[in-house]
């Protein structure tokens, strides 16, 4: 019941925003090459549906691989932090420093190193997604209750047993908290890569549409990309519920 009401409120807010958008276009007579009205955009989505889905599929594939890769790397960072706690602070500082690196500058380099196709897009997408996940996992491992660890140690548990039977279940909520931010960012990273160095994907679609002054197509691409980000978030929530049934997880916090 609560979820239905939440969904209805969300739908009403979206409808309100679309209404304001349409009213602004009509009232201020905004030219369509600058700001298309929502009906023009809907017409493009309806008419270009097959093309949009094809490009969205390319982006989604890359984003999925990117999110999984970023999650795996974040999990490795968490494991390293647990087994070598002295590396905790230097690791966090390094991650934050790397996060400041202008990712767009990586695009031509990734093309050189990885060629064209899926690999550079996955690489850039995972670059975007990695940092929030790594930070979240690192904090989750660092904030582990020491008493529980000592209890395991008192039972002569090996390091690997403590890691798999205590650390992993305890850090999983933090891991998924990072993934909720990281998964949509993986979509963003793939779009950035496609805009700069691809001949497929929603980013490429929007780039060409922009060059041809087909602003309605650009908006259609933006809407699909936003939907993809939302779907990525939803997928993380569902996966979290499946893997951590002991937690009461809300669809939207």
């Amino acid at each position: 019941m609560v979820r239905i009401r939440t969904a209805m409120i969300a739908a009403a807010m979206i409808a309100l925003m679309v209404g304001i958008w349409a009213a602004a276009c009509y009232t201020f007579k905004l030219p369509s090459y600058l700001v298309p009205n929502p009906f023009e955009v809907l017409k493009v989505i309806w008419g270009d549906w097959a093309v949009l889905i094809s490009h969205a599929g390319v982006t989604a594939e890359a984003a999925l691989f990117a999110a999984v890769l970023a999650s795996g790397l974040a999990a490795v960072v968490g494991a390293v932090i647990f087994f070598m706690p002295r590396l905790s602070s230097p690791t966090i500082i390094s991650i934050i420093t790397l996060q400041s690196f202008p990712a767009v500058a990586l695009v031509p380099l990734l093309t050189i190193w990885l060629g064209n196709g899926l690999s550079p897009r996955v690489a850039l997408g995972s670059f975007f997604a990695f940092f929030p996940q790594a930070i979240a996992v690192t904090r989750a491992v660092r904030d582990l209750d020491r008493e529980k660890v000592e209890f395991f140690e008192s039972l002569a548990a090996r390091g690997s047993q403590i890691f798999w039977q205590l650390v992993v279940p305890s850090a999983t909520p933090g891991f998924f908290a990072g993934m909720r931010i990281g998964a949509p960012l993986a979509v963003v990273g793939c779009l950035v890569s496609e805009i700069s160095s691809s001949d497929r994907g929603l980013g490429f679609y929007m780039l060409v549409a922009s060059r041809r002054l087909e602003t309605a197509q650009v908006f259609a691409g933006v809407i699909l990309a936003a939907g993809m980000g939302l779907a990525a978030y939803g997928l993380v929530v569902v996966t979290e519920r499946f893997l951590t049934p002991w937690r009461d997880v809300l669809a939207i916090e």
Binding site: S32, Y33, P108, L109, G115, S197, D199, L207, R211, L213
Partner: protein
């Protein structure tokens, strides 16, 4: 309480300042009758734009009663959109952009041609054996999608029967070409070609115009209501630009100096090479700068229509207006 009032006041002032445009949307006339005019370039500042800075610095524009501001273009600063929106009075755009915009209902017109010939080239390492488009078959080629560069490429592919090639998107970096990850790369004669030659990279330059594909290059655009309501300003602008180009061609070192003075991040050596490579594109067979030829516009339109970049039926008289400054 007072803290809240102060914070709200500061935030309100910042928001209002953020919405203010300190450069007027319409030309402002000063007391001496000099109009404040802005022109939006097609790309980032570079040696191809020497005449603008030379004309401004040497007082040419001011003699024509124009106080000129030169603004950079780039991938996120479309001169067509900014001119159409009124943010800039004039702009530099590709001939394809100008025609396409007109067909889409954007109220801009082309009033002069800067590059009389297409500056688009395709480069290959000189030891690759690739000398003409015929040699592009089964090769890896970097291209730019979505505008005149792609049309010129496709025209050459069709004309010379190129087949089996692998097309990859140009990443706006020369590294893939230098590292030989691609066999052929798209380039501009006065940009990437200059950069590669300055790095002593031996290359073969295949100019689109040398192989019979030669649409107009960059053109000057303005809003059609500017032309209609301020024809004298437009004439003065074209006249000033023509004088500025003449001066910059006659005094290239001085011209580059004015550019580098305004944009200190640029290098004199590099931009001198760029400007010298630009000069041959400025003057057509008619011997005059900026003057447009209708037949060349017809040729440009036909090429864009042939490859679906333009729908057929665009009336050139709507898109192109001849301005002849006295």
């Amino acid at each position: 309480m007072w803290k809240k009032i102060i914070v709200v006041s500061i935030v309100s002032v910042l928001i209002v300042c953020g919405f203010l445009d300190v450069n007027s949307l319409t030309p402002v006339q000063s007391a001496e009758g000099v109009s404040d005019v802005s022109v939006r370039m097609k790309w980032f500042f570079a040696g191809t734009m020497v005449p603008w800075f030379y004309g401004r610095s040497s007082g040419i524009f001011r003699r024509h009663k124009i106080n000129l501001s030169v603004r950079p273009g780039g991938p996120d600063n479309s001169s067509v959109k900014l001119v159409a929106a009124g943010s800039d009075l004039f702009g530099v755009a590709g001939s394809d952009e100008a025609l396409l915009a007109r067909q889409k209902g954007v109220p801009i017109v082309a009033i002069g041609v800067i590059f009389k010939d297409s500056p688009v080239s395709f480069v290959a390492h000189s030891d690759s054996g690739i000398k003409t488009p015929v040699d592009w078959s089964n090769k890896r080629i970097e291209i730019i999608y979505g505008n005149s560069e792609e049309v010129q490429y496709r025209s050459l592919v069709k004309k010379y029967g190129v087949h089996g090639q692998t097309e990859v998107p140009y990443t706006y970096s020369l590294v893939p070409f230098i590292e030989r990850k691609v066999d052929v790369s798209i380039a501009y004669s006065m940009d990437q070609v200059v950069t590669l030659k300055r790095r002593n990279i031996a290359l073969t330059e295949m100019r689109a115009k040398d192989f019979g594909v030669n649409p107009y290059g960059d053109v000057i655009i303005t809003r059609e209501d500017t032309l209609r309501n301020r024809p004298e300003l437009v004439r003065d602008f074209i006249a000033a630009l023509r004088d500025a180009i003449t001066g910059a061609v006659s005094n290239p070192q001085m011209g580059v100096h004015t550019l580098v003075q305004a944009v200190p991040t640029l290098s004199v050596d590099n931009e001198t090479a760029v400007w010298m490579a630009t000069i041959p594109f400025l003057k057509g067979p008619d011997g005059r700068y900026l003057l447009m030829d209708r037949e060349r516009w017809v040729e440009t339109r036909s090429l864009l229509e042939e490859f679906g970049f333009l729908n057929s039926g665009l009336n050139l008289d709507d898109a192109v207006k001849y301005v002849d400054p006295m």
